[in-house]
Symmetry: C2
Subunit: 349 residues, 2 copies
DNA sequence: TTGTAAGCGTTATCAG
DNA sequence: CTGATAACGCTTACAA
């Protein structure tokens, strides 16, 4: 038991080779003779050396093999949404060709302790969403000269992004609702800014989250005057809160609700049922995302299925490309409309 | 635009101080005069220096400020369970005093690319659960001399763990069911091994996942001969699959089902209702975890409420303690029994 | 309070 | 295929 951990030099000495040779045995960057290799490996074993110190290697190489994933909210909250988790899976896949791991970073604005966005040893960063806070994160990361990819947000010139056809897709759903004959429609949106206030959105409100703005624009293309209520986050509970407000007054109930996420839609459906309304007979509801919402059965949500995993994978691949000095390519992904059992013609009055 | 990024030495030179002084200005480890500080900061600004290179700093310090969180399944699957999500939040909290970020590591056994458990620059690791695969991960990490904390699994001597009183808690629920008069009980368990097979568990089956084994033991203390069916994962859908199998034969229906998670219980309830059974009048169901199950209303599950966030925080704090050379303390957390509306006396036959 | 000096453990380069 | 050499960029005793 030596007091200090063995280094590659110790191993080299023990094996009777030079440190560089030992290094090469571990990295495999250069062919080595079987004899040398086995001697080095044996020496390593004998000394309890388990491989190069990643910190030293990353300093020397200038790469840490870590990609930061930046969220602008509590991790718990972010992961509550299945879209996020699928995306993370895709991301893990996408960067795996690069052999990188994912570092969870939360930019809460008031990061007191390290490592934050300022100091984390990351080779690249993926920003999720594009709220105002994210724009700050972007500045920080770019200031450090670290390649960035933005998912679902426009970060401006030269920054590759992975986008969904949110406007287009939401317009499709709205058209479907309109085609069924609905005229009295209410929209339930994702948060409109970092403060995550819920409530009716004023006509002159500034919507600072791109996804929200885009989906809203798509719906308003078809229903220009539909009132819209913002939720505080994408969850069933928030959807239910919005739904209760919407269905509160029996005299002024819409015949359809267009929600900006499946979770919100599920909540709206629950609120409708609480209010004694049947879906879709009395009220139609559409979602967005196409995730499996636990507990929604027997309903099948009419929704836009987004390629969440592909989104993550694309972001991961864009990161990989940037780190390999390849042209960082942006990607536009499309959602697929899926008609479920939650939309129908409005009740004939 | 210099061709190379500025280093702290460049900044020091520009500011007319020594590198060590500049270093100290950034780290704040030693008081510096206002004059020096402002000169250094100005120089940094001028050179576009955004702070010490974390790779170099971590080599020098011997710390990366990163804690690895090791999962043995797809991240998406892991995060589907609210318990995991809450735990991650607690974990983030727990390590924050240390100022560490979390590195997501998936040990899928066939990790071809780096950095894996073998090479990630982590100061410590938290293993979630304790399946056979996890035991391998444990070996790897220990081999590297990295401190480990295991959550919900017994890793043997000297490895701090954060445990739940699974046996005890599940026994409490079983006793409650027994006290209500049930004799004909079926158990629905979490996965019993890495292969995640679903189906009836044979008497001689080896259960290789600690949580599953413990909760099963607790239930069997009260109902030694109750048949048990394993689910493939903890989800409502899996619970429903198990439930359908259990309620398939009208002639052989149990009067109570003890499920090892709330999600499974919710699925069982759904299956029961599909089969025309009322809960709790015709069949009682208990869960485990005490999470909010979306879509279960109006039922309130009879369950064991586990302190998921506390579990994560405790793990984080244990890690922090180990890194500060304090005594790594294990912690046993307790679940609280909560009686809901899903259990009642069996139907009088 | 500031400077000097000595590594931290690797790996890229290039010569043999 | 192997070895010598020179960084990689920073921090921290310790001395002034």
């Amino acid at each position: 038991m030596s007091t200090r951990r063995a280094t590659i030099s110790d191993v080299a000495r023990e094996a009777g080779v030079s440190p560089s040779t030992a290094s090469v045995v571990f990295s495999g960057k250069t062919p080595t003779s079987a004899d040398v290799r086995s001697r080095v490996l044996a020496a390593a074993q004998a000394l309890g050396y388990t491989g190069p110190d990643p910190r030293a290697a990353s300093l020397r190489r200038g790469r840490s093999g870590i990609v930061g994933v930046v969220f602008d909210q509590h991790l718990g909250t972010a992961f509550l949404d299945p879209v996020t988790t699928h995306m993370m899976d895709g991301l893990a896949d996408g960067v795996s060709r690069l052999g990188a791991a994912l570092l969870l970073l939360r930019d809460d604005g008031v990061t007191v302790s390290e490592p934050s966005l300022h100091t984390a040893p990351i080779d690249a960063a993926v920003l999720i969403g594009c709220s105002p806070r994210m724009r700050e994160s972007l500045e920080i990361v770019r200031g450090r000269g670290i390649p960035v990819v933005v998912v679902e947000g426009d970060a401006g010139e030269g920054i590759p992004r992975v986008l969904l056809d949110n406007v287009e897709a939401q317009r499709t759903a709205a058209r479907h609702v309109a085609a069924l004959g609905h005229r009295d429609v209410v929209l339930v949106t994702l948060p409109i800014d970092t403060s995550r206030h819920r409530g009716w959105i004023a006509d002159d409100a500034r919507i600072r989250v791109d996804v929200t703005a885009d989906r809203l624009a798509g719906a308003r293309d078809v229903f220009p005057h539909a009132p819209a209520m913002a939720a505080a986050t994408s969850s069933i509970d928030e959807g239910a809160i919005a739904g209760r407000a919407i269905f509160a007054d029996p005299g002024r109930r819409p015949t359809a609700v267009i929600a900006q996420s499946d979770l919100l839609a599920a909540g709206v459906i629950r609120a409708a049922e609480e209010a004694g309304l049947r879906v879709p007979e009395d009220v139609s509801v559409t979602g967005f995302d196409g995730v499996v919402v636990d507990g929604l059965a027997p309903h099948v949500l009419t929704t836009l299925v987004q390629p969440a995993t592909a989104k993550g994978r694309a972001a991961g691949e864009a990161v990989a490309a940037m780190l390999e000095d390849a042209a960082p390519s942006s990607l536009d992904l499309s959602c697929t409309f899926r008609e479920g059992t939650t939309t129908a013609a409005p009740p004939s009055t």
